[in-house]
Amino acid sequence: MSLLRTQNLAAFYGDFQALFDINVSVEEGETVAIIGANGAGKTTFLRAVAGALATAPDTVLFDGQPIGDKTAHEIVRLGIAMVPEGRRLFPSLSVEENLLLGTHSERAGPWNLKRVYELFPRLRELRRLPAPSLSGGQQQMAALGRALMSNPRLLLCDELSLGLAPVVIRDIYQCLGAITAEGTTVVLVEQDISRALDASVRFYCFQEGRLALNAPTKNFDHAALTAAYFGL
């Protein structure tokens, strides 16, 4: 049984339909990438899974359980954590307080402050500073750490590379490798296609709210991907 499965997932912002009939499945332990142009619905998809967007109950199944209509905080407690697009650290809180926020879901597991600081040593030095004073890359690490603190089974990463220098992106993806090595399942939304495909075993390509292509990343067909990405 897949850890995460969506069936005919549709999502709306008011009257506007952002997702049509999305069928995605993710096995436990896998890293799956979601790519597509701006406005393709990638972030909407993650928000729907995370519960920030209401959907029909059966359209999102986590470990076989329908979670489509659950609230975001209930879903975090079930074991799904989100690293939001743009980091979204809490500006009034220090780095360490931001990390501790992750514990409000009260899930047990291997991740705690000590382990997060081992993964991101730079954060330990900066831990008492207010979150906004960190650089982009450091904030991304903090956001990742914050999500890890809830000991998720499934980690949703939205645009980890957004606004970051290539060197920094490389560091972050290396850390991601360490995370997945623990057995955490990851769904990755990325604009940086090569990064996304390097880090994942399978990928889905979204185009204007619809699934255009899904394939294993090994030996994928570039032409097919380009066609799917741009809707040709």
Binding site: A72, H73, R77, S92, L93, L100
Partner: protein, 288 residues
């Protein structure tokens, strides 16, 4: 020396205004909710204390052990039951729903207690005074109220910056969506926030009602005074609330020294001036 006396009286007066303001400041800071019923809830606390006193013989300050939990429960229920649904609708729903609650409380009290004024009796402390150097006489009660205000604000500082709950409050105040994504149950948190605000409201209500007459219609002016203190101090700043209360109190004291009937008006005018010159208050922190 007269002016020193006036300023001191004004500062102490600021204590009760700061206490009025705390509940309003909390609900605005955490939920962006301006609670029009706030003043009426202060008055309601006084009436609850009145009933508790009549039925248990407890003096008003001691009756807080019953009044505070009652008001906490009321605040929790109000937020959970009514106000949480208004938060996403823009400006009008929270304003109008709390307006409705205000009218219901005022008229409910009127129906239940009549239009008579009451006062809570605490005893000798109401009139005791101490002598300060320079021949200035200061009432023990206003001094105590000011001390309570300072302790209240200090306790909020501890709550917000040294506790897990406080951390959650600050996170939700920053970014409610993301807080929810971190596993925080916003609706419950808001309810707890209003409950805590109600505890301070109960304290304010009882302390105020010992010192002044109250009747069912006493709510709106308390709301305005609380509002003025919050705005003068600057939104989102805990100590700003105390400062706002003090500025308001001093303005009123100065006005009263010129002529007793000018007291409240002087406060309003000071408020309007500050509003025009520094719309964000003296120490703003909350992003609007």
């Amino acid at each position: 020396m007269e002016w020193v006396n006036t300023i001191i009286q004004g500062i102490l007066l600021g204590g009760i205004y700061a206490l009025f303001a705390i509940g309003l400041s909390l609900s605005f800071g955490i939920m962006r909710l301006v609670n029009i019923a706030h003043g009426d809830l202060i008055v309601l606390s006084a009436y609850v204390a009145l009933i508790v006193g009549q039925n248990t013989g407890l003096d008003p300050i001691s009756s807080l052990v019953i009044v505070a939990p009652v008001m906490f429960a009321l605040g929790y229920a109000l937020q959970r039951g009514l106000l949480n649904s208004t938060l996403s609708g823009g400006l009008l729903p929270p304003l109008l729903v709390t307006f409705g609650i205000s009218v219901i409380i005022q008229n409910g009290l009127l129906q239940g207690f009549g239009a008579y004024t009451h006062r809570l009796q605490e005893g000798a402390i109401e009139t005791a005074s101490v002598q300060l150097p320079g021949g200035i006489s200061v009432g023990v009660y206003p001094l105590m109220v000011f001390a309570v205000a300072v302790c209240a604000i200090a306790s909020l500082q501890i709550l917000f910056y040294s506790t897990r709950l406080g951390r959650a409050f600050r996170a939700v105040s920053d970014d409610a969506d993301t807080a929810e994504l971190m596993g925080i149950d916003n609706r419950k948190l808001y309810a707890v926030a209003l409950g805590i605000a109600m505890i301070f409201t109960a304290i304010a209500g009882i302390l105020f009602a010992i010192r002044a007459n109250f009747d069912p219609a006493a709510g709106p002016i308390r709301l305005i005074l609380a509002f003025e203190a919050v705005i003068i101090g600057g939104l989102g700043s805990i100590w700003g609330t105390l400062l706002g209360g003090v500025v308001l109190g001093v303005s009123q004291a100065v006005g009263a020294a010129l002529s007793p009937t000018w007291q409240i008006l002087a406060g309003h005018i000071a408020f309007l001036i500050i509003l025009i010159v520094r719309p964000n208050g003296l120490f703003p922190r909350t992003r609007d």
